[in-house]
Symmetry: C2
Subunit: 475 residues, 2 copies
C-alpha cells in the first residue's frame, strides 16, 4: 500500500468517526492551521476537529493505527512551532477549536472546569461576571489546553506564577494505541495519593497526550491597582529598584516588566495610538512597567496604593535609582507592553529568544549579549523586553528590512546559537522559559540537555504512551 | 550466602564508603530512626547517615547491589509511616540528618539553596535575618527534603500553596543501579525545556529517589497581620463566611482554619497554658481561625488590616453568619491550632485521616462522616480540624482510653475504610491530601486508584530507576 493510499484510508476512518464536517483535507480549509504565529509554516495532510473527548480519543487511535504523526494544536498562537505540522505534508493536525463546551464555574471551590479548546478571553469573560479571573496575562489569546501544554507564564508571573500553579486537574487523551482517556483529578487543591500524573502533561507541548479538559483555581479580580512606567538610572539599578519594590509592597507587586528603548521605539513607529509616555523627554534606554494591585474591600485602598507607589517613586528618584516616571493612563502603558511582539514583526524578521536566568544574572546576560550581537552580527537590532521580576527575558533580535544584508536563515540560527551558548555556559540560564519547546528550539535540547536527560524523558514518554509520541512536540 | 551474611556485607560496604561513624547498626543507636510519629514502629537493619550527595549515591548503589531495600528518612516527622522501615529487620534507613550544609540565600533572586536534611526551623531562622520566609506553616519541624518528598501543605496553603509551588530546582539521587545524581534545575522561575523531571520526585515519598538539595523561592515575611477566632452560627455558614472573607480581603487572607469543639477541648485538657478563648462563653461546636496578613511599607497598614477584620466580623455577626469572635492574642490562638495533634495523642489512640474535597463539599462530608461514626463506631470521638480554605480536613478519630472497648487495630482500620469509601464514592475526595503516601494509606491506593493507574505509575518509576524502587514509599 502506498503512503498516499494509507493517508487516504486514515482520513476515511477519521471521517467515519467524526463526521465529514469535522475533518478538513483540502488546501484552502487547511491554511489557517498550517501557518504558525512566527514563520514556521507547514503543510498538513488533514485537520481533525473533534468536538468531544471521545472524538479526540478516536482520532489518536486511528492515527496510531495508520502510523500517521499527529500534531495537537490549540488556538495556534504558539511561538515555537509546536502546534503546526512540518513541511512534509504527511502529518495531521488535531485542532482543539471545536472542543469548547460551556465553562463550569464552582464559586464555593473558587475553581472552574473548562474544555481544552476554550480561549483565555472567553474564560475570563465568564469569570469576570463573578468577580474572578484566571490571572495569566498575555498579549495573545490562546486556548486553555494549549496554555497547559505550554505551561505559559506571562506578565503577572511574579504574583500568580505559571499555568502549572493553577491546574487542579486534567483530563487527557494519552498518545497510546487506544487513545486512553485519563481523568487526572478535578477540583482538589490538596491531593497526594501517589505520582501526580498531570504534571507530566503540563509543559510537554502535547507530546504525551492531548489536554481535553482542565480544572483551574481562579483568583479574585484585581479591584485596586496602581501603575507606573519608570526609567531606571541605568541597567545597574534595575535590580535594586525591584528589590526595593518587593520590600515596599510584598505581594501587592503584580508586575515588574522591563522594555528596551529599541523595542518601544518599534511600538511607537508601527502601532497606531501609541506614543512615548515620557515625551517631551526622550525615550530612555530601558523602562520598567510596575503594577501594584489588590482585591480588597478596605475603604480607599486604591488611593493608598497609588499614594504608596508615588512615595516609592519619589524615594527612588531621590536615591538616584530612577531618572523619570509616568503614572497616568495605565491602559495606554499596558497597550504599549502588549504591542511589542506585533511591532517587532512590522519592523523586520524577528529572531525570538525566550530565555530566563536567575534574576540577578539577567542584566549581566543582557549586557554581555548586546556586546556579542554588536561584535558578531552588527546589523541585527536588539529589541528585548521581558520580565525582570521573574528572570524571564524575550531577548528578541530584529533583522531589519533596510540597511542590512538580505535575511539568511543560517546566520539567524547562528546568532541564536551563540546567544544560547553564552546564556547556558556563563549563566546556567534557560533557552526555553515560557513559550514551551517545539521545532524552533528542539535542536537546542540535544545540544544543552545531554543524551542521558533526553533518554530519560524518552523512557518516561514511552512508559506513558507504550512506545510512541504524538507529533514532534517535545522538540 | 545467607540473608544475614548478605546484610553483614552490605553494612561493611557502607562503612567503607561512609566511614564507621556514619553507619549505625546497633539496637540502641537505631531507636529514634525506627519509631514513627504516629505508631508505625519498625526495625532497621542499619541507618546510613551520608554527609554528602556523593555519599547518598554510594548508599543507593551499595544497597541495590546487595538487594537491600532502603527507606529514605528526613526528620522522621511524617504521619503515614513512609520514612520508617517495616518490622522485618531487613530494610535499611537512609537518614538525611547529616546532610545539612549551610543555607545559601540569593537575595537578588529571592531564592535559597538548601541541603535536603536542613530543618524548616533552621531555614526560616536564617531567612528571617533578611526579612524572608519559606511560608509553609506546620506544627512539626520536618526536613526540607522530606517536605519536598511529601509535598507538604499546611495552615497557610490558601495564600502560599504547597511545597511544589515553591520548588525551583532539585538535586536528586535516583534509585537506580548506580545512584545517578540528577541536577534538575537551580534558581530559575521559568524553565520549560521539556519534561519537568523534578515534578516526579515531589510528593512521591522518596520512592523514585532521594532529594539531596533544593532550590526554593522564598517570600517576604509577613509584616502586618490580623487574627481572629470566630464561631460560625452553624456548619452551614462556614462556607458563606469563607466566601465573604475572600471577597473582602482577596489574597490578604492567609489562613482560614477550622477546628471542631472536640479537638479544642482535648487541647485545653492536655496542653498547659491553653484555655477556651471564648470563656466565659462555652466552646462552640466549630471555630475558625482567620488570619489576614501583608508585607507592605504602607503607613498604618497593620491598623487598617485589624480594622478591616473588625468590620468584617461585625458585618458577619449582624448577618447572623457568626455568633462569637475573639481577636486578641494571636500567638495564643496559633498555639491552640498547632497543639491539636499532640493533644489528641494524649487523649487516646488517634486514627488520623488526612482528606480533602472540593471546598463546598467539605462540610457535607464532615456531616455525613459524623453520622457514619455515630452509627457504626459510637465510642469513637470525632476530633477533626483542618483547612476549610483549601478543602483539606484532618478528620481524626480518637479511640479513648476510657469508656470504650479495648483498642483493636482491625476495627480502627474498618472505620478508616468506611470513611474513605464515603469520601471517594460520594464526594470524589482524596484520601491522602497533604501527608503523602506510605504504609498507612498504601492499601487504599490499590482500592481507589485502580490497577491501570498503579500500573502506569509503576512503568514510569521503572523508566526512572531501571526497574526497582527504593523502600515501599509509594504505598
Amino acid at each position: 500500500m502506498s503512503a498516499a493510499e494509507g493517508m487516504r484510508r486514515c482520513i476515511e476512518d477519521l471521517r467515519a468517526a467524526l463526521g465529514d464536517q469535522n475533518v478538513l483535507a483540502s488546501g484552502e480549509d487547511l491554511a489557517r492551521y498550517q501557518t504558525a504565529a512566527r514563520y514556521e509554516d507547514g503543510k498538513a495532510a488533514f485537520v481533525a476537529l473533534p468536538t468531544t473527548t471521545a472524538h479526540v480519543s478516536a482520532v489518536v487511535a486511528i492515527c496510531r493505527r495508520h502510523a500517521v504523526t499527529l500534531v495537537p494544536q490549540g488556538a495556534n498562537t504558539g511561538l515555537v512551532g509546536a502546534g503546526v505540522p512540518d513541511s512534509s505534508g504527511e502529518q495531521g493536525v488535531l485542532s482543539l477549536d471545536r472542543l469548547n463546551g460551556p465553562v463550569a464555574i464552582d464559586l464555593e471551590n473558587r475553581s472552574v472546569r473548562v474544555a481544552g479548546g476554550v480561549r483565555l478571553s472567553a474564560l475570563n469573560e465568564e469569570l469576570a461576571r463573578f468577580g474572578l479571573t484566571f490571572p495569566i496575562d498575555l498579549g495573545a489569546d490562546p486556548s486553555i489546553g494549549g496554555m497547559v501544554a505550554t505551561n505559559t507564564g506571562g506578565a503577572r508571573f511574579i504574583r500568580y506564577g505559571d499555568v502549572r500553579r493553577s491546574v487542579l486537574g486534567l483530563e487527557v487523551v494519552v498518545a497510546d494505541e487506544t487513545g486512553t482517556i485519563l481523568d487526572l483529578g478535578s477540583g482538589l487543591r490538596k491531593n497526594n495519593v501517589g505520582l501526580d500524573l498531570k504534571q507530566l502533561f503540563i509543559g510537554t507541548g502535547g507530546a504525551f497526550g492531548v489536554i481535553t479538559r482542565v480544572d483551574l483555581e481562579v483568583q479574585p479580580l484585581q479591584r485596586q491597582s496602581a501603575t507606573a512606567l519608570l526609567a531606571p538610572r541605568d541597567r545597574s539599578t534595575v535590580m535594586a529598584v525591584l528589590l526595593a519594590a518587593e520590600a515596599a509592597f510584598g505581594s501587592d507587586l503584580s508586575s515588574f516588566e522591563g522594555m528596551s528603548g529599541e523595542a518601544l521605539s518599534c511600538v511607537f513607529r508601527h502601532i497606531p495610538d501609541t506614543r512615548n509616555p515620557f515625551a517631551p523627554e526622550p525615550l530612555p534606554e530601558y523602562s520598567v512597567l510596575v503594577e501594584l494591585s489588590r482585591s480588597t474591600a478596605e475603604p480607599e485602598a486604591g488611593e493608598r496604593l497609588k499614594a504608596g507607589l508615588h512615595r516609592f517613586l519619589e524615594a527612588q528618584f531621590e536615591a538616584g535609582m530612577i531618572v523619570n516616571a509616568v503614572v497616568d493612563h495605565p491602559e495606554a502603558l499596558w497597550k504599549i507592553r502588549h504591542s511589542i511582539s506585533d511591532a517587532l514583526r512590522e519592523e523586520g524578521k524577528v529572531i525570538g529568544l525566550d530565555v530566563s536566568a536567575r534574576r540577578g544574572d539577567l542584566e549581566h546576560f543582557r549586557a554581555d549579549a548586546r556586546v556579542l550581537v554588536r561584535r558578531e552580527f552588527p546589523w541585527l537590532r536588539v529589541c528585548d523586553f521581558g520580565h525582570c521580576g521573574d528572570g524571564g527575558d524575550h531577548f528578541n533580535l530584529v533583522w531589519p528590512r533596510l540597511d542590512a544584508p538580505p535575511y539568511d536563515a543560517a546566520t539567524a540560527r547562528l546568532a541564536r546559537t551563540r546567544l544560547y551558548e553564552l546564556l547556558v555556559a556563563k549563566y546556567d540560564g534557560s533557552f526555553s522559559a515560557e513559550h514551551g519547546t517545539g521545532p524552533s528550539n528542539g535542536e537546542y535540547r540535544s545540544a544543552f540537555l545531554g543524551a542521558d536527560r533526553l533518554d530519560l524523558e524518552k523512557r518516561i514518554g514511552e512508559a506513558l504512551t507504550h512506545g510512541r509520541l504524538l507529533g514532534r512536540a517535545l522538540g
